[in-house]
Amino acid sequence: MGYEVQTPAFEGPFDLLLHLILKQEVDLWEISLAPIIDEYITRVAELERVDLDVATEFLLIAATLVELKARRLLPAPEPIDLDEELARWEERDYLLARLLECKTFQDAAHAIHERLTLASHTFARLAGPEHPFCLLSPDPLEQVSLVQLAKAAAKGLTPRPDLTVRTDADHITVARVSVREAIEAVLALLPAREPVPFRDLVRGVSSKIEAIVRFLACLELFKQGMIDLDQCDNFGDLQVRMLAPGESAELDLESLAEWGDEEAAPALAAAEHEEQEHAHEHEFVAVPASWPVTVMPS
């Protein structure tokens, strides 16, 4: 049996662990750790720049979990080394402390959210002085320097990351992107034999979700033996090469059905919009179990 971990778009390992332990009441020993780690690696792969501190932190936590779990699986050695035992508790306490801290701020965030909502029901008066008086006020621009103006323009023009969530899901524009279409797009972009960086295959796509789906398309093509994937260095560009007719298989469109595009794309899109608190259950990315989710350097 074993607990099947589905991996919604959690904001990292703490979120995920808290969810599993507190909400699902899962005993960590019953969890398969691989999906958690896969999920994390997939996320890291999506990042443009890897924050080494955070990545290291995750490794430490993952290692602690693996160790805790491994010990659990092995029969206890007869005499227990006291030092080792202490170290083990130390590791566990560290993880526990981190989780408690994370939980504390999650609850604080909840309180702040409530205050924000409450306060959003009152509106401040912004009209300012009425007619004769408004002429009296010193000219506002006199206090503004050219540099301030330019900074304001830069601030206003810098594309704002859209991480906001609307109140209900109806407002979310779901980008309907299908893996099938992405496969066609990828095939159209790939030259006969030259390897192309994956980066080039997503040039010009308008949303992250499209890029993700193109990536999935590449994985599908790889699985079907149509293309070859190669990554020379850690975090290096993923090279995508079309296999020559002789070495490649036929594209099996039938198997694409397992994608259930209608389901998968909205799920991905929703995940990209960042989850609403209670919507975790609906945002699992529908990745078939047989999938090579990570592409490691060869």
Binding site: P138, A150, K151, A152, A154, L157
Partner: protein, 205 residues
Amino acid sequence: MIDRSITAAVEAILLVATEPVEPGVLAQLVEVPRATVEDACAQLVSEYSHDERGFTIGRVAGGYRFQTDATQAPYVERFVLEGQTARLSGPALETLAIVAYKQPISRAQLSAIRGVNVDATLRTLVQRGYVEESGHEPTPGNPSLFSTTSVFLEKLGIDSLTDLPPLADFIPDAHVVEALERGLRIPVAAAASNGAADSTGDGSD
């Protein structure tokens, strides 16, 4: 006597309004006849006066608005003169700056860039004389295009728009091109030749 729920709604709406609100609009919002709105306002005026409030409701330009009571003018003048109200709010300054760098620009383009409705801010800027309607876009509906005025240049102490510091100096690298593209209209001929590559000179044309 008008019901409290009606006067309270009228008070709340007038409090947040930045321009006089027509009785018809108030009537629609509060879902009562226009005459009721007018009675409500009259009643409020008399209550405020009876309670010796520092404000009243005035009827100007066909609408109602909150205004200070004439007896309090000395205090209001002092407050306004000290410049407490004179700062351009962050959003207003950003909108003005975007007009400066992206002119001529339509209301819709501004709203798209700012991510919010800019009507109120734009009105303030026009009232202040910093921004003016400078033409119309040759698209359906002929939306107005806005540009900065010579008053704007004067206040900033510069001769022409070319004296504005290049925007590229203030935008983090990765965002420059995208930011510049966002604000760009597609003036048919220019876009074809320059595209977005022309980053620094953008403010000047």
